[in-house]
């Protein structure tokens, strides 16, 4: 049994490493993807480009504008008196918001009246718009508080102290609330899944296309020997990828790593059981490499969306939450994020390990029974 497995394993490594495209998929792609995703996948909203339309032009109006542009959240793209020009900037997506202050702002304010200040937000990207509105509300509230205290002081002639609640937020595991710290470990899991799925399904389907599988099927090899020999190299490649991409995450992006690397590798091992099993299953239902590729992506995108990689599972409709239970990426994300950011151990993560093991055995078992030595 071992001789045959080793024979296939050796051949598989040779085939894969001799193919320049495959070498790129295995060695180059995960690192490049991590770098790209690490920069691109971020939900942090900073430096919102703001068009300022100040029709008042008084010290009070300029002070309000300065509060906006002085914060890290807003950059003044332009100061203009022209409403239409500002609107065109939003239309062309050069500006994300317009801050408009009407004439008489200072006068009305001093007269003790509530003065409307308009913030027009490009709502096409609802997520960014919500952040912009929240930031603007915070800035305005701070300005109001200061203004009120200043007015009271001016009228009473002495400084006033008022009691107030001071909220002290402290984010655990990710003190600066860097979304990159949350997403980069997820990207590692996602890339391992993509590479192992593709390599497995393609490697077997390529043999179908070339006709070489027919020659193997007439030998007395047992299906389990063939499958183990085929999958083992891709499991090894999966581990190598984990180490490579983790190195990029730690050394380049300085993502905190607080847990145990051994535990992470254990999680990856169980995760690979599922992804290799799915890859194997895809290879049994595909005749050509194109079909295998299509089927892989047909599985991969929902698996990514249902996993909680970007969208929290708790926000999904209940049906989809149930569906996400059969998504191996869901469990792997909890493990990898837990190990990276929270530094939690097996005592916390064992349910995720158990789920991955059950899923992996089920998928692999099913794929093996689907795999026949007949054409």
């Amino acid at each position: 049994m071992w001789e045959r497995i080793l024979t296939i394993l050796r051949k598989e490594f040779r085939s894969v490493l001799r193919d320049p495209r495959m070498r790129l998929v295995i060695l180059g792609l995960p690192v490049i993807q991590t770098l790209i995703f690490g920069y691109a996948v971020t939900l942090d909203v900073r430096h919102v480009r703001l068009a300022v339309v100040d029709h008042d032009g008084t010290p009070a109006s300029r002070a309000l504008v300065a509060r906006f542009t002085g914060s890290a959240y807003f950059d003044a793209l332009t100061h203009t008196q022209d409403d239409d020009a500002a609107r065109r900037l939003v239309d062309s997506a050069d500006a994300s918001a317009i801050l408009q202050i009407n004439a008489g702002y200072e006068q009305n304010l001093r007269g003790g009246r509530t003065v409307p200040v308009q913030l027009l937000v490009d709502g096409a990207d609802s997520n960014t718009a919500r952040f912009v509105v929240n930031y603007a509300a915070q800035i305005t509230a701070a300005a109001n508080t200061e203004f009120v205290l200043e007015q009271v002081q001016r009228r009473t002639g002495r400084s006033v102290t008022t009691g107030r609640a001071d909220l002290q937020p402290r984010a655990w595991f990710n003190a600066d609330l860097e979304s990159r710290n949350f997403y980069v470990p997820g990207i590692i899991a996602m890339l391992i899944m993509l590479v192992s799925l593709m390599l497995t399904s393609m490697a077997i389907v390529r043999e179908k296309e070339a006709g070489t599988i027919e020659q193997i099927m007439v030998t007395p090899i047992r299906p389990v020997e063939f499958i183990l020999g085929k999958c083992a190299p891709f499991a090894v490649i999966g581990f190598v990828n984990t180490a490579m991409v983790s190195a990029v995450a730690l050394l380049w992006f300085h993502i905190p790593f607080r847990g145990s690397f051994a535990l992470l590798l254990g999680g990856v091992a169980l995760f690979l059981l599922s992804t290799l099993g799915i890859g194997l299953f895809i290879s049994t239902v595909s005749r050509t490499q194109q079909q295998a590729m299509m089927t892989t992506f047909f599985f991969f995108f929902p698996a990514m969306l249902f996993s909680g990689f970007i969208f929290p599972i708790a926000n999904m409709p209940v049906g989809f939450q149930w569906l996400s239970l059969v998504d191996p990426l869901r469990y792997m994300l909890v493990i990898i994020r837990g190990v990276f950011l929270k530094g939690v151990g097996f005592d916390v993560l064992w349910t995720q390990f158990a789920a991955l093991l059950a899923l992996g055995l089920g998928v692999m078992g099913f794929a093996v029974t689907r795999f026949h030595k007949t054409l």
Binding site: K11, A210, P220, T374
Partner: protein, 325 residues
């Protein structure tokens, strides 16, 4: 089938069928192959040759019928069969990205050759295929003839007593084809039973015994000589004349002539009664003004037999179809 031989039968099938949906790729064939024999399966593309060979190798499960290879059942004991056969598919099926030597090592690992035998078998394959100087060459860069001999070598690494070859020489030049057949004869001489499919007429002449398959059925079998003499009730006349294409149209109208076919520069005429046909042909050609250079009765070639059998089969199939309407 001559009953003289008492050699052991190593491949036999009864009423073997394979359907793909409504299409009957193999529609009930029965035959037997004796030990050490070279048995050819001759037929046009799509006749069911490859499907039959795949069922014998345990790659496809038959829809109906039964068979035994090396004494094992082709439905239930496929894995036992697989240790005793070598198989070469019509498509080259070694790994292009591996070297010659790596391909040989791969199959000797898969067949679990004993360690002490591996080197000897590898040398044998390299010598047999003439690839000693190319052991580290990528297989993809080998010529067709070399690839085919290497594939044969890998298929017989484990010294199987039965060898299945599915159109082994398609797409190979005539010299390589001849060399390949020399190898087959060598193996056959060592007692290996060879089952080979082909659609080359001249190649089928090399076989000890032939089965002619057409549309999933075995329509005749026997030695090439027996097929040519016994399975052709009609006589074949060969003639050389001026304007053979025009002459053919004239001859086809003669009641004494059953079929006319172009053959090389001349024509082959099939006639039930050659004694009556010969004067009729001479008269018709003379009347039409065609110069006749030669007219003689010949031993039919396998191609004549093949064409005649197939046309006879099509006639009965057509008649049945009309009847069933």
């Amino acid at each position: 089938m001559p009953a003289a031989s008492t050699a052991e039968i190593v491949v036999e099938v009864q009423n073997l069928e394979k359907h793909f949906g409504a299409f009957k790729a193999v529609a009930g064939v029965s035959f037997a192959v004796r030990r050490g024999e070279i048995f050819g399966f001759l037929g046009p593309n799509g006749a069911g040759k490859s499907t039959t060979i795949r069922m014998l190798c345990g790659l496809l499960a038959p829809t109906a019928g039964s068979g035994r290879v090396a004494g094992f059942d082709i439905v239930r004991e496929t894995e036992q069969i697989k240790t005793r056969i070598g198989y070469m598919s019509q498509k080259f099926s070694l790994y292009d990205e591996l070297t010659v030597e790596e391909n040989i090592d791969f199959y000797s690992g898969i067949y679990r050759l004993p360690r002490e035998k591996k080197a000897a078998r590898k040398d044998w394959v390299l010598t047999m295929a003439g690839l000693q100087a190319h052991r580290r060459t990528r297989t993809s860069t080998l010529s067709g003839g070399w690839k085919q001999r290497l594939a044969l070598g890998c298929a017989v690494l484990h010294e199987p007593p039965i060898l299945f070859l599915d159109e082994p020489t398609s797409g190979v030049d005539p010299i390589s084809r001849r060399q390949f057949w020399d190898l087959i004869y060598t193996l056959s001489g060592q007692g290996v039973t060879v089952f080979v499919t082909t659609h080359y007429m001249e190649e089928s002449e090399y076989c000890d015994r032939l089965g002619i398959v057409y549309r999933g059925e075995l329509i005749a079998s026997g030695t090439p000589r027996a097929l040519k003499t016994e399975h052709m009730a009609e006589a074949v006349l060969e003639l050389d004349c001026a304007q053979p294409n025009e002459a053919m149209a004239v001859l086809e109208r003669l009641p004494e002539v059953k079929e006319v076919a172009v053959f090389g520069k001349g024509l082959h005429v099939v006639a039930a009664d050659p004694a009556a046909a010969e004067p009729a042909i001479r008269a018709a050609l003379a009347a039409g003004g065609f110069r006749l250079d030669r007219l003689e009765r010949i031993v039919p070639t396998l191609e004549d037999v093949f064409v005649s059998l197939i046309e006879a089969r099509d006639r009965t199939a057509g008649a049945q179809q009309e009847f069933s309407r």
